[in-house]
């Protein structure tokens, strides 16, 4: 589905990604783990065209998408749920969802909006409410629903569980599973590694702009180093984990 090779991204002269390569197979959930500042959001922003790579290639179904502006990437079927939700505060819930369908010309938009409402009945109730007045959890639902409105084949999700109550986090991850089962590929950036690995098929671990590990999610879940670094487990030996 998406193939990234030797991707370098800089902020000015500061390197943020230093040659990462990864592969996201169709129909799967792939997680990208890493601590703050490792380059996770940078990776997503580069895929969706918000940042221009300095070097490297990105192929979506074999077609180069590096260097495309964001609006063209959306048209290729990639949708991005940005970090911090970034909903349009002064628009209604419905208008936000309509913005999600901005690139579409087909007649199925109303049907897809119904499907978003099935996924998140809360949004249906608040349909005509101004989005800025929603709670944090509802805003996250709206951000995900809005991204789904473009009918993407690849959904990029940046920290969808950030700042949500545990009950809502569970709900968001159930929805991620549901979206995948409908055939959408998902690339998930998460700090909540336990949740991410429980829903993902495979995962990559990013550290200071480089991929330092990857594998089946189930295997990574048992990896003591991963458990230590991202699941908050104490080191097994007296060795310094840092």
């Amino acid at each position: 589905m998406l193939e990234i090779e030797d991707l370098h991204v800089h902020y000015g002269s500061i390197p943020a990604l230093r040659g990462i390569s990864l592969f996201i197979p169709r129909g799967e959930v792939v997680a990208l783990l890493g601590s703050n500042g490792a380059g996770k959001s940078t990776t997503l922003k580069t895929i969706s065209g918000l940042l221009k790579p300095k070097q490297g290639t990105m192929r979506l179904n074999g077609e180069r998408i590096d260097g495309l502006p964001p609006y063209a990437v959306v048209q290729k079927g990639v949708s991005h749920v940005p970090e911090g939700r970034r909903i349009f505060n002064r628009m209604t819930v419905r208008e936000n969802l309509e913005m999600g369908a901005y690139t579409r010309r087909d007649g199925e938009i109303a049907r897809d909006m119904e499907r978003v409402f099935e996924l998140f009945p809360r949004l249906a109730e608040r349909c005509n409410q101004v989005a800025g007045t929603l709670s944090g959890g509802e805003q996250q639902m709206l951000a995900i629903g809005r991204a789904l409105m473009s009918n993407p084949s690849l959904l990029l999700m940046d920290e969808p569980s950030l700042g949500l109550a545990p009950r809502l986090v569970e709900m968001i991850f159930r929805v991620i599973e549901e979206i995948r089962s409908r055939g959408t590929t998902i690339f998930l950036v998460e700090q909540n590694a336990l949740m991410a690995l429980s829903v993902a098929r495979m995962a990559y671990v990013l550290e200071t702009g480089q991929i330092v590990g990857s594998g089946e999610a189930a295997v990574l879940l048992r990896d003591p180093k991963v458990r230590q670094a991202y699941l908050g487990e104490p080191p097994e030996s007296a060795e310094n984990p840092g």
Binding site: L50, R86, I87, R90, M99, G100
Partner: protein, 321 residues
């Protein structure tokens, strides 16, 4: 006192004419500010271009001897449409040439570029008209029927051209409100104003929306230019400065970036100006005459802005992440 009351309806009508004109121009400032957080100080010349396109068409028709033969109800929409098109495209061009290359620069830089463009356009119009007509102060030919006054009451009459100004302004304001609030294009403009990066993630081509905003704002200014010429007749390349500053003030008064705010701000400023022009000398026993109208109007403005720094309807931009 009786005299003052009798005067009131007329003052109201004059204020509305002025106010709608300010409102139309103010939209150009406020829409551009909405998407770029930048004041397009060349907007006053974009407005003036509309006025010049209008006068050139009229003088051209007059020169060909056919002006009297064209019914005014055909002529007016053509003039307004031509002014809108010219000013709209000029605004788009100015953005491409003078603002877009400076998009990433510190805020003062495009502002200076705008002031430079403003001077450039003034002198370009002056230069071209000087070659073409050997004059750059031009007068709108009077149009059949437009100067007629309609009696509305014992002390109230209104000229047909004032009705034209008010009527076409209302039409355009309603059209714009519909466009911005009810169409996909309008949603894209609002999305870019709220968060351009996220709008681009929705598939919006932000640069195109910015061009579109300049086109619409410029077209409103161009329409105002034609209406200004029809209402006040005499125009020059430097005519735009005062109405431009006042329309900008109106935009700030209403809440810069806020489209209904620009409309309200324009009307409030027009009415304030008209009332102070008529009543200042009455109120002060003749100490201050109508020539102090701007001081009075702007004093009230300052007062309003001290009490409501974000403008009458509030600032709606500036919540960027």
């Amino acid at each position: 006192m009786e005299f003052a009351l009798a005067l009131a309806p007329q003052v109201l009508v004059d204020g509305l004419v002025l106010g709608f004109m300010y409102a139309l121009i103010a939209l150009g400032y406020t829409m551009v500010y909405g998407v770029l957080q930048f004041i397009n100080f060349a907007h006053s010349e974009i407005f003036v271009l509309g006025a010049f396109v209008g006068v050139e068409i009229l003088l051209g028709l007059q020169g060909a001897g056919v002006l009297a033969g064209i019914p005014v109800w055909v002529l007016l929409p053509v003039l307004v449409a031509a002014g809108m098109a010219a000013s709209g495209f000029l605004a788009v061009g100015v953005e491409r040439v003078a603002y877009r290359p400076l998009r990433g620069a510190p805020r003062l830089v495009p502002l200076l570029s705008a002031i430079g463009i403003s001077f450039f356009l003034q002198d370009a119009i002056r230069f071209l008209e000087s070659i073409w007509r050997n004059a750059f102060y031009l007068t709108y030919p009077s149009l059949e029927g437009l100067d007629r006054r309609i009696q509305l009451g014992p002390a109230l009459d209104i000229s047909v051209k004032s009705l034209v100004v008010i009527g076409s302004s209302i039409l355009m304001l309603v059209g714009l409100t519909f466009l911005v609030n009810k169409t996909k294009m309008g949603r894209a403009i609002r999305a870019v104003a709220q968060d351009p990066e996220t709008a681009s993630l929705m598939g919006v081509d932000v640069n195109r929306v910015i061009s579109l905003t300049f086109l619409i704002g410029g077209a409103m200014g161009g329409a105002a230019g034609v209406l200004f010429g029809i209402q006040y007749s005499l125009i020059s390349p430097y005519t735009g400065f005062i109405p431009g500053i006042k329309a900008f003030t109106a935009a700030v008064l209403g809440g810069i970036g806020n489209i209904p705010g620009a409309m309200v701000g324009g009307l409030v400023l027009g009415l304030l100006e008209s009332f102070s022009a008529s009543y200042l000398s009455l109120l002060t026993g003749g100490a201050f005459g109508a020539e102090y109208k701007d001081i009075f109007a702007f004093s009230i403005l300052i007062l309003i802005l001290i009490l409501r720094p974000k403008g009458l309807l509030g600032e709606v931009v500036g919540e960027k992440a």
